[in-house]
Point group: D2
Chain length 339, copies 4
């Protein structure tokens, strides 16, 4: 079978490899779609730790082709989505139930073979059922959605809350929808590209704003802005220092700023402790998807979260290595690799 | 009667003023003790907003001398502690129950007359009973204790938690005790002065450390440190940029950093977003004492929290203005003004 | 002016009384609408404590006619909704922030004059702004909505939750909407009358069920039911013993049963402790509207919660006493008195 | 080796069985102590489901004798305590992180072989380290302690809270200590036997009361009782209908009643819905020990929780079957089997 292999030192290529056979507790699935995420690009550039040689791709789903002898819950022909992250169960964070903070994470598509391939192995404990009736590409959104569910859970939104989302990529677009679902009645998307703002509005943002320009904060939270004094919750979904600075200023008294974005290790951002104190701000980082993948699968299965408009294009396995090596094209939300 | 008046422009002096008479819902109390807080010094230097001319002093208690006609719960001769902060009930934060974030706070001793005086007015809604049987000076600690209770509540400590407290002033000393009370079994006080470390140990810290020197972090959370990888909760009680930086580094995976310290408005502190994300840190600011003053009064009344060792010296009203004008003497925890 | 007076001993009548004049912190409002609630009927029958002679009506809103000298936030001509419940600020629950559990509640329309009248007094602290642009009758729904917001907050719903609502009165109809708003994707209304089920479906219930018949539980949570094993949250909104029994059986492992219904003092319900333990059920009572009235006003102002279909009929002040004396007509959701 | 085998139909006997050898992810431990719990007695009487033939005993610890090839964290000669309960990882509750509510629990000592034996197998994922320096019998208390930690966590105690514990068995004695650790300053133990009350007082209860007699409630929460109006939290640790009734009456406005006791399946208890509503009571069931066993091990390791006084007697494997068959002797807290 074919697999997009990261071989270290910036090398990534489509290779012919042997089709794996499932261990006793594994499913072998025929991959239907696997999303290209910023993390894949970081891995190839050497900016994010991986275990080459390895098949990349951690946002995928597919059809069960065969199952190991110990598998009890899945059958050949069913559709599943893979949760690439699974706690070791032995380290201190795992034993506190903080499985996303496991000290020994071995994510599929990063440290074990993932989904940019014709077939992939998924341990039963990491497989979640999806109905055959949904469009086959949608399953690839379960993983990012599960991460966003965790972030929105941590925000503790109350019905009627005001929300600002910084960054109009796939994470921002999913957070907009989840914030609406969680009771926020006013959700503003801030992103620089006009087409992303239009998209946000079409999937649930109640307003959008271009963050360019010095007067961004004033326009948004000034006296005659949309949210005078700030929003109940602000989600950082851009992954740049500028938006980290902004999120803390945009949070209103008693509000919460949720950090979802992955910044480079060397990035530093200056905060104003007195301002945070007087407004009693909470800054909450949100990392991965602890115990949220099943809920993500259900929201995708029921069509509650709209992902069709987030598919920018589909490409083949042959095109995948190049697409990963290059920066995301302007305007792209998610590119899916369809084997 | 005598009162320490802040008259604006750095002017503070003991003045003879008329003894106030209680409005219908007020208590007039004879002040027994009023603590000098860093905020008093900031006010005189013009670094913290106040409403001169005003009698300073917001950490006080005393004996009821007379009561207004509408007062129902207090009698002449009883001891009370004043909660200087009271929400307006009309602004948006008040109506969400976030009374500490009230947009119209008029704190006693800051914007209304306070406790550096022979007598003080306290609205019934801001008075809390204390037994006559406790030492008369202890009531002056209810206000800082109430602020610390809020901070420790926000940390959400679990039984068996590890805690680091940065700063060995009165706030740090109270947080050490409250963290132990809330189930932390390992509480480390970090402060530079040896006598403060000794004091901390005597009131409940399970270990202490001198934060001076480059290897502070390594000594504390390095592999052979007290808390390898960090503590479940870190409390910033020093109010300087250095400790704000430290608190975020000292917090372990899934842990919480509580910001209690008041920094100058211009202070900026650089944070490392990626580190916060990978450890999923929560930074929680804690401001004032919403709905915690009654609990503080009870902990003082029962002697559960030890405050006797936190009284560095007592001074007279005559000495108060000078003491407030000057920086706190080295080694001081709390100076109480006893009229 | 005219006012519906409860005069004790089952006596209720429309009387001509003097139009009150506002104290310094009061608003005088011209009532636009005031809902008839089950509590009003209980008061007249002597089943619920009140302070006769008193003007009944606690679900009302209107236009500011005049204001006291100390009022700062409202002007003549503005529309407001009244929160009838206000903590005393002095009792133990109030000082813990549990203002709904105040030991000295003096609700408007129960112990102080309320809204079945041409005019009513509302303390500024209990008034919340509503825009003039909304239909004038909608403000009468803020109070029940605020109670329901509290109940739904206490349920701690997560996005994707399953919910059962028992009882299709105004409380049930509001809870259905709020549960959807708070992220529940599957909300079942159980009520006996078909037209109420149809109404529930039209405002957001994803399914409805008739609770009549022995097989109700099996139909709902049996293996081939809508929610096999139970729902994440079940709301008791009928106020009868039967539904209290049901709510605990319908709650799934780790789920929450919220008790909103007011039952007679003598009602007793048998629970099964082992079943609750093995499923680790939480039974949470929800009483009144602590710090939720402002949010209710906003949800009504924005039209987010639909109340138009909940208005069964409007009647005049002349008709009010009779309507209160009689049981609610079959099928009624809410009758509004329009002076 | 010797093992106490439950063979179904009320049969329990000490048998010679083959010493098991560890699978790749198992530890074989030499058992040092295993507590006899009420559940063991229920199993033998057929009142609690088990999988005979099976070695009973789920509260045990011991010394690692050998390890499977895949074990990475434990070495021969180390001491461990076993968490008998481990979620399957595949069912819906497990995937929500509610591992104690797993639909497929196979507890050691109930459905898989447990600790009343010379040796026992413990999967690495269920083993937690204990230091060799502590008394060898103490490890047997980790399991009940872990269950109590969960219950006390769920109560959400605040510093200064008042607590009532109903039932002076091992669960009650541990809850008393944990409640104190979690910040409760007033903890009352209610149990009928005087020696249990004395014991409770010696390990941290601030008062005790004999629940016998009609005036129990009045004595405890009447106007001149210890807790007028009730306690912030009440823990049911007796497992009888009478105490379930009591716990809901003893809970004060806004308080929580935690149900820990296991009652017979047929037990029914009458509740008063209106009382629960007006006081806004929360009834929270607490089942097993999700993610709390590591904390229990630490509290035992550090000696923070006192268990020495809870050891009523130690018996041999030969004596175990009889001891399990008979009811617990009056006055017994915990009997430990020492192979
Ligand atoms: N925490 C987690 O568990 C988790 C999980 C998955 C992903 N992530 C991280 O989440 C972040 C977002 O992921 P993604 O896939 O959505 O990334 P993405 O496609 O790169 O989207 C980021 C968006 O941010 C916008 N942006 C850039 N600079 C901005 C600025 N100064 N102000 C406002 N918007 C700005 C860009 O749109 P415009 O050009 O329109 O401004 C861009 O579309 C990444 O850092 C990713 O690594 C975190
Ligand atoms: N959030 C609230 O509601 C609230 C309420 C009251 C007070 N506060 C604030 O809390 C802070 C503490 O108040 P306080 O009255 O305890 O103040 P304080 O008496 O000034 O104590 C601060 C202590 O911090 C220590 N310190 C200074 N630099 C340090 C460093 N680099 N590392 C470690 N320790 C350092 C000092 O002791 P060494 O010389 O031994 O290092 C000093 O004793 C202040 O900023 C105050 O304004 C906040
Ligand atoms: N906790 C609070 O803060 C708060 C605030 C306001 C009101 N309440 C209480 O909440 C409850 C509901 O108020 P409401 O104004 O909506 O009352 P309501 O108009 O009387 O509605 C109750 C509904 O319950 C249904 N019902 C009766 N028996 C039932 C059964 N066995 N199974 C299922 N449904 C049944 C009835 O509809 P069908 O005929 O179709 O079955 C009825 O419409 C009342 O007890 C009220 O006092 C509580
Ligand atoms: N939820 C969980 O995860 C979990 C875990 C472990 C155990 N449990 C359960 O927790 C309960 C307690 O366990 P245990 O091992 O401590 O049991 P235990 O040794 O039987 O202790 C129960 C105590 O309750 C007291 N008691 C009996 N009737 C009473 C009454 N009417 N009022 C007050 N006290 C009364 C008895 O002492 P006096 O004779 O002095 O009254 C007895 O010592 C059991 O039901 C057990 O199955 C639950
Ligand atoms: Zn792990
Ligand atoms: Zn206010
Ligand atoms: Zn009150
Ligand atoms: Zn399971």
């Amino acid at each position: 079978m074919r697999a997009v292999r990261f071989e270290g030192d910036g090398k990534i290529a489509l290779r012919e490899v042997e089709r794996p056979s499932p261990g006793p507790f594994d499913l072998l699935i025929r991959v239907e779609a696997c999303g290209i995420c910023g993390t894949d690009r970081h891995i190839v550039k050497g900016e994010f730790g991986a275990s080459p040689p390895v098949t990349l791709g951690h946002e995928f789903s597919g059809i069960v082709e065969s199952v190991g002898s110990g598998v009890t819950r899945f059958r050949v022909g069913e559709r599943i989505t893979a949760d690439p992250n699974h706690g070791c169960g032995l380290c201190a964070p795992c034993r506190e139930g903080k499985v996303n903070l496991c000290e020994n994470l071995q994510p599929l598509g990063v440290r074990r073979d993932g989904g940019f391939a014709d077939y992939a192995l998924v341990p039963e404990a990491q497989a979640h059922a999806l109905p055959l009736s949904i469009p086959p590409l949608h399953g690839a959104f379960c993983e990012p959605l599960a991460c966003c569910i965790h972030g929105v859970d941590l925000a503790g939104l109350k019905t009627g809350a005001s929300v600002i989302v910084l960054g109009g990529g796939v994470i921002g677009m999913l957070v907009v929808q989840l914030a609406r679902l969680a009771g926020a009645t006013r959700v503003v998307m801030a992103t620089r590209q006009a087409d992303k703002r239009a998209l946000a509005q079409s999937i649930g943002a109640t307003a959008t704003v271009d963050p360019s320009g010095d007067d961004f904060l004033r326009r948004l939270i000034g006296e005659s802005g949309l949210f005078p004094g700030g929003a109940d919750a602000v989600f950082e979904c851009a992954g740049v220092p500028e938006t980290v600075t902004q999120m803390l200023k945009l949070t209103k008294r008693g509000g919460t700023a949720v950090l979802l974005g992955v910044l480079p290790p060397e990035a530093r951002v200056a905060i104003e402790p007195l301002g945070l104190l007087l407004r009693e701000v909470r800054l909450q980082a949100s990392f991965l998807n602890p115990f949220t993948h099943a809920r993500a699968a259900e929201l995708i299965a029921s069509g509650t979260v709209k992902v069709e408009p987030l598919i920018s294009r589909t490409i083949t396995l042959e095109e995948a290595s190049d697409a990963i090596r290059q920066p995301a094209p302007r305007g792209e939300i998610r590119t899916l690799v369809v084997p």
